[in-house]
């Protein structure tokens, strides 16, 4: 039997909410649908750009290469690779945990792992959508602040690990 993706249940519950609301007033449903449709129309063109960037990242970025650079780099370069690796890594986070575990066993410290994980929050493919909703200035500033904070977080974890706090 084909397994139904869990996310469809959420959509089903929302549709059910609309049906229930319909009993109280069809005009509520119609004006809600009209508002939702406006959002859809506005974000469809942005999604085309999102898809193209996603395609380019998936085509050019190989997780094995990310792993290689994260494992072998040193000094400030390591922070750079942790930041870039986190940004360009695609797919769900849990897919990356085994790779990070392996890197940890090979001597990569928690500082770099936390920086890598923090930068997974910055996704080049989604930047057009962020610009659409929040503007170019906001997107540039937030991205910059997050990169700086990711290195600070990594640095704190490095110090904690050196002090034996994470054992």
């Amino acid at each position: 039997m084909m397994e139904i993706n869990k996310s469809w249940y959420f959509l089903f519950v929302v549709v059910l909410l609309y049906v229930v609301t319909g009993f109280f007033g069809l005009n509520i449903v119609l004006s809600s649908l009209e508002f939702a449709w406006k959002i859809v129309v506005n974000i469809i063109p942005v999604f085309v750009v999102v898809f193209v960037v996603m395609l380019l990242v998936n085509y050019y970025v190989d997780p094995k290469t990310v792993s290689k650079y994260l494992g072998k780099s040193s000094g400030w370069k390591r922070w750079f690779f942790a930041v870039v690796g986190g940004i360009i890594s695609t797919g769900p986070i849990y897919m990356w945990y085994p790779m990070l575990k392996e890197l940890k066993e090979r001597g990569v410290n928690y500082g770099f792992i936390s920086t890598f994980l923090y930068n997974r929050a910055i996704k080049p493919a989604l930047i057009p959508l962020m610009i659409y909703y929040f503007g170019l200035n906001f997107t540039i500033i937030l991205t910059f602040v997050m990169i700086v904070m990711s290195v600070i977080q990594g640095f704190i974890f490095e110090k904690l690990e050196e002090g034996g706090e994470l054992r």
């Binding site: 940890k104 923090y118 200035n137 904070m149």
Partner: protein, 140 residues
Amino acid sequence: MNEKFKDSVVKSSRSLGNSVPVLAGVVLLVGLANTLVPKSLYRMVFSRNFLLDSFIGSGLGSVLAGNPVTSYVLGGEFLKEGISLVAVTAFLVSWVTVGLVQLPAESFLLGKKFAILRNIMSFMFSIIVAIITAFLVGLV
């Protein structure tokens, strides 16, 4: 067509396609909330105190999970409802940096202490990032 390119098209389509049901649900829910929820409720939840607002935003973003696209749509609508930029930013940042849902997997593979500390720190950092970002955006 090159095999690698084909794989990338499939991977990208699947990734975007998987978010469609949730995104459709969120957009429909936003539509319903826009009609049913009085605007005064948002003003009641968010106090206009930047520290408290960013705390509430971070809390909300930490509990909710899913594709960042969903958080952008929700965050964009929150802004239109008059919620402060600092609260919305905290919400966006904690959505992607705090992973309560993934915490068991992260604990199991990367260590319990690390996973818990990382999530607590990311929660606090989301507030700091939000305050700095909102301040800098105001300057530009």
